[in-house]
Every structure is written in structure tokens, then in C-alpha cells.
């Protein structure tokens, strides 16, 4: 045990907790037994942007298997494609093992450096949400360590309530130990990508709507230039893809997979490196670089799915103030709100290095899962910008008034009321959570800020 300062990927709101790295259940139980009033939370690779995997003054169990000399604890059934995997294993490790054997993860977020445990707890989504749904929909069983010390196996058929409370449950129902995940068969390790430049926001929404052929592609996402104004406001570069067939690939080894890290981010970065002017210049280049008309290319998995993973610790590019990632969703018919949000940010001079728009498919059975049918916009913003709390609170209300919500794995600032409004099944989930953890053992800084672990279950004198 050691006191350790922790933050999420955004490097804001640091707090100190007792950090224990372990993959061993008996050690986890020991930490649980010795934990004080401020409880315990599991942490994987710390890729959630806000405070979901930190626990101020309490215990944090870091459950990762990076660099495990015994290889990864994952068994892939080559006939069914079912992967039986420890929660500590990252999607990166899985892909290194599975791609050469012809299997891909069913869902990957923008980084492959997330653990299976984190992917389930955040119910992560990827560029294929409109096609395949989110990660939890491909999980057929979860082995969970409860607060009582009991280990249970949850499946969507046998105990749907507990299973779906754990999917998207932000680690507040127990510690995910193992899972069975259905993998996707692939013929090659390449992606056939269609890239298209779209001159304004109307063109973007048109191309991505369901009758705009978006449903014909498994993967679809659009990068948006938030700083473009006037007639080119909301212009973007749309990329859509499919796993390439063996015939598409010229290479001899069609399943070759080599995700080597390319450049490290410098260890020290001047604050304000990413500012309105540098981002504007980047956006112009990025937009112009994309072909004017539809263009087909064959890309590798890291190129297409995980471009930012190419820069090690890219989160440091924001300097020591850190950054937040703002991701929300609004119903399909509320493009007006997307536009209003983009205008609000752009007129406040808030630049975003990465702004990404995606059309999401229907919601799954989890009460706390983020995706619902609608548009999700994601942007990252330097945390130290003057007036940001006021601006975000205004935008939060625009989103909530439109029937939208915020993604908890990204969240760093929303209010308890905002979660209540955005997640109408919050009480139902809290009720299930309380049944699974009657004494309120599991708690995180996110849970504390948002009141996700109800007050009557507060332990001791916290």
C-alpha cells in the first residue's frame, strides 16, 4: 500500500488514495476488509478522462496486466470466437493475440489501452455503435467480486438486473474479475476506409444520417472543424470503413499486426501550446489534407481505430493544467442543438483539438449506459480556460433540455442534477447497486461528486 496521487486521463482534479496493484482475488479481499470509511474502487489503465477510477482518501485497486511475464490471461476459442479473459487484460494485448488468428474485438474505443474491466464498467462504444452497439452487448458473462467478498457469475439471462447494472456501472457494483466476450471474425488486419471532405455541418449530418448510407458501413465517424465559421461552420472529414477482405490486401501476410508506438509526447510541454491559433492551423491542414471527393484507402488497425495511441501519453500535450473531454448525446432530430452547442463554444473562442461527431444506434438494456439513438459530439478542451465552468453549465443545460445526456467515463464536471436529468433510470440503477453493495463499499471521486452512492449508505463518518 502506498499513498499515490491519481487523476484520470485528462490530468485534472488530482486526489490521493492508497493504491494497491494486484490481480489476486485474495489480496483484493484483504484490501476490502481493511478499507476505511472512504471505500474502494477498481482502476485499470486510467483512460477514463475524469475521476471515475480515483478514490480520494480511500483505496484504489489497480488491476492491470501490462508486462505480465506469464503472458495474458485470455483464452480464445477459435471456432466460436468467444474470448474468456481476465478483466486486467487490455484491448491492446487482446488484439496482439487475436488479430493474427483472425479475430477482432467487437468494440474498441479510440484507444486500445483500456482494460476489459474498464470497457465493461464504462460500457465503451466505438465507431461501430450504429452497427454493433456498445461493448456490454458482446459480453456473455461477467465474474464479479461483490463487496461481501462473494464471487458471482452474472449473465444477461440468469441475472439480468445485476448484469446490466454492472455494464456501464462505473465500477460501483463490484470488481469485475473476468468476462466472456464474443469476438468478431476478420479476414485481414486492414481496414478499407472511405474518406470524404464535407464542406459544412449540413453536409456532415446529411451524409451521416441513416438514409445517407451510414448504415451500409460498420464503422463511421466524422472529424469536425469547430473553428470554421460562416458558410463552412461545422465542416468535417468523414471516414467510414469495413474490415478489408483478404483480396483487398496486397501484403502476403493478410493478418499481420504491428501496433508499435511511434512518437512519445515530450515530457514537458509549455502551457498553452494547444491554443486557438495552433489548433486553427492544424484544422486547416487536416481538412485540406482530406480528399475533396470520396477516396478509398487501405489502412492498418492502429491507423484507423487508434490514431492517438501513436503518440505515447498524448494527454500531456495540454500542459499541467490538464484538459477535459466533453461528450454528450442528443436525439437524432436535435441537430439544432448540436449546431447551437458548436456555435456557443466557437463564439466563446474555445478551441478543441479533437472534435468528433458520430451517429449512435439504439440504447441497450443497461440503465447507466451512455449511448442512445442520437448524435454524439466529443470535444476536448483545455481545463484552465477562463469562464469554462459557466460556459459548460450553459451547454449542459442545452443538452439536457433537448433530452440528451453526458458520458460518465468522460465526465469531469457535470452536476448531480445533470446526471439525474440525463439518466432517467438512475434511481432504478441506484436501487440495484445498493442491493449489491448494501454498505456502500464501492466509491469513487466521480460517485462522490455526483452522489451515485446514496447518502444513507455512507459508511462510518465519511
Amino acid at each position: 500500500m502506498a499513498l499515490q496521487r491519481l487523476s484520470g486521463w485528462g490530468r485534472t482534479a488530482w486526489t490521493v488514495a492508497d493504491l494497491v496493484h494486484t490481480n489476486d482475488v485474495s489480496e483484493m479481499k484483504q484490501v476490502i476488509n481493511q478499507s476505511g470509511a472512504r471505500g474502494v474502487i477498481a482502476r485499470g489503465l486510467g483512460r477514463s478522462y475524469g475521476a471515475a477510477s480515483q478514490n480520494a482518501g480511500g483505496s484504489v485497486l489497480e488491476i492491470t496486466a501490462e508486462g505480465d511475464p506469464h503472458g495474458i490471461d485470455a483464452l480464445l476459442d477459435s471456432t466460436t470466437g468467444v474470448l474468456d479473459v481476465a478483466s486486467s487484460v487490455s484491448l491492446d494485448s487482446i488484439l496482439r493475440m487475436s488479430v493474427p488468428r483472425g479475430w477482432f474485438v467487437p468494440v474498441t474505443p479510440g484507444t486500445r489501452f483500456v482494460t476489459v474491466g474498464g470497457a465493461i464498467a464504462s460500457d465503451v462504444h466505438g465507431k461501430n455503435h450504429h452497427f454493433d452497439g456498445s461493448f456490454g452487448q458482446h459480453v456473455s458473462s461477467i465474474t464479479l467480486l461483490l463487496a461481501s467478498g462473494e464471487v458471482v457469475e452474472l449473465t444477461p439471462r440468469l441475472n439480468p438486473e445485476w448484469f446490466w447494472a454492472t455494464v456501464g456501472g462505473m465500477g460501483l457494483t463490484g470488481i469485475i474479475l473476468r468476462a466472456r466476450v464474443s469476438m468478431l471474425p476478420i479476414e485481414s488486419s486492414r481496414v478499407r476506409v472511405e474518406t470524404e471532405r464535407l464542406t459544412n455541418f449540413d453536409a456532415v449530418c446529411e451524409a451521416m444520417s441513416s438514409d445517407g448510407a451510414d448504415n451500409d458501413y460498420r464503422y463511421s465517424v466524422c472529424w469536425i472543424d469547430l473553428l470554421a465559421t460562416g458558410p463552412s461552420m461545422g465542416r468535417g472529414v468523414l471516414t467510414r470503413g469495413e474490415h478489408a477482405s483478404a483480396a483487398d490486401v496486397k501484403d502476403d501476410d493478410v493478418l499481420a499486426y504491428d501496433p508499435r508506438l511511434k512518437v512519445p509526447a515530450p515530457s514537458w510541454v509549455p502551457n498553452g501550446l494547444l491554443n486557438k491559433w495552433s489548433i486553427k492551423a492544424f484544422n486547416e491542414v487536416w481538412y485540406r489534407k482530406a480528399p475533396g471527393s470520396r477516396h478509398v484507402s487501405i489502412e492498418s488497425i492502429p491507423q484507423f481505430f487508434h490514431p492517438l495511441d501513436g503518440v505515447h501519453q498524448w494527454n500531456r500535450l495540454y500542459g499541467n493544467q490538464g484538459f477535459i473531454q466533453y461528450q454528450f448525446i442528443v436525439p437524432l432530430d436535435r441537430i439544432d442543438v448540436l449546431r447551437a452547442v458548436i456555435e456557443t463554444f466557437s463564439s466563446a473562442g474555445v478551441a478543441s483539438f479533437l472534435a468528433v461527431l458520430k451517429r449512435m444506434g439504439p440504447q441497450n438494456l443497461s440503465p447507466m449506459s451512455f449511448p442512445t439513438e442520437g448524435w454524439t459530439l466529443t470535444l476536448d478542451i483545455a481545463a484552465g480556460i477562463k469562464g469554462l465552468p459557466e460556459l459548460l453549465s450553459r451547454v449542459d443545460n442545452m443538452v439536457l433540455d433537448a433530452g440528451g445526456r453526458h458520458y460518465l467515463a468522460k465526465d469531469s464536471h457535470v452536476s448531480p442534477t445533470a446526471v439525474r436529468r440525463g439518466y432517467p433510470r438512475l434511481d432504478e440503477w441506484m436501487h440495484t447497486r445498493d442491493a449489491m453493495d448494501p454498505n456502500g463499499l464501492w466509491r469513487s471521486d466521480l460517485a462522490r461528486r455526483l452522489g451515485l452512492v446514496s447518502a444513507q449508505h455512507t459508511r462510518g463518518n465519511e
Binding site: 485534472t12 490521493v16 475524469g50 480520494a56 484552465g384 453549465s393 464536471h413 452536476s415 461528486r449
Partner: protein, 254 residues
Amino acid sequence: MKNGVGVAQNIVLFGGTSDIGQAILRRIIKPGVARVALVSRNLEAAASFASELEEAFPDVEIHHVRYDAADASSMAHVVTEIVSEIGDIDVAVVAQGVLNEGMDYYSDPTGLITLCDVNFTSTMVLLYALSQQMKQQGYGKTVLLSSVAGERVRKGNPAYGATKAGIDGFALALDHELVGTGASILVVRPGFVTTKMTTGMKKAPFSTDAESVAKITEAGIASGKKVVWAPGLLRWMFLILKNVPLPVWRKLPL
């Protein structure tokens, strides 16, 4: 819990009637703040500030806690009471203090006892109690209103200056002890501030107002500094003033 854009959910002001304390709160209460506790001896005197806050920030719960800033032995209890009312303390602004200038301490030293109790003894006990709570929380920021008067104690207000010198030095050392716990202390050193505390006094050079002190304090909290001066120029002034030889110091018109 503090959030990712630097907003504290729960804020406590010790010395609920302090002009500087109130000015700091006006600046740091933003969307995201849920609860504010005003701790003061005279709840009626703090009531007008409370209603001002209620009007300006309808989403924020305002709590009142009564205490006697001179009663050092009650400080730990006061902190416990606040925590039971609002939960974790994200930011505590310690603005309790008395000036008691112009009193004839030669013939009646009782005022000195109050002065030391409020400015020094109680504040020291309070900083320990807050730090203990924040260590358990794994985070938390205490803002101590010190004064340049403590930088080099001068004739005119030797007693006040000595209490500030003492508490300032103590707070910096305590902050050093807290490294690695998540709890930390920001020492704010204002110069002459035109407030009700200094009403009727002759303005000193580089005087400032509560609003400017608050602005500098807010920036100090955000950047994680250990000490801020208000105005900032005083830092360089005192670098010189602290080091001028005593005979020269005594001739200065301060």
C-alpha cells in the same frame, strides 16, 4: 468533491463577516458549487452576505455555523460539525482575524490575549483540524489570509504583525508537512486593504481592495501556488525591505 474545471463543490468561510473572505467567495462560487458554510461568531452579521449569496447563486445551499474565533479549544469540534453538515471540505478560506490597532496595551494587555487567540492560537488549531480532515479526504485546499505585516514586524502594529508572522510561518511549514497527502495550504499576503477592518486608518503605500485580493487568491488556488501577494509587487518590495539593515529599516517612513 472538486471537479475537473477547478470548481470546489463544498466551500467553507471561517470569519463569515470578513470583507476579504466574502470577496474570495464571490469569485470562487461558480456553477458546480453545491454547498457553502459561513462560520462566524455573529450569525446576524453574516446574514446579509448569506442572503446576497442565496440570491446570486440559487442552486447553492448556504449553511450557517456559529463559532467563537477566540476559542481555540472548540476548533476541532467546529470542523467536525461542518463536515457532518456539508460533507467533505473542498476549499476552506480562513479569514478570521482582528486588528485591534491603536489600543494601549501598556496599561491594558487583555486585548493582546484576544488578538493572539483569534489570529494565532485558534487559527493554528483550526489549520491542524482542517488539515487532518483534508488528509483523510485525500485532497483539499486551505486558504489562509495572512498579511505583509508579518513579513517584517514594524512599530505601529507590533502585536498584530507578530501574530501574522507566527501564523504565516506556521502555515508554510504545515503545508510542507502535508506534501503527498493531497491536502495543501495557500498563504495569501495582502498589503493594506481598504475594508471595514481598516476603516479610518491612513492608507499605506500599495494599498489594495478586497476584490483585488480575491482575484489574486483565485488564481493562486487554480495554479497550486504556496504563497501569493496582493498586490503582486509587494513580493519584490519585501524582498528588499526584509533585508535592509535595522538602522535603515527604523528610519523608513513605514
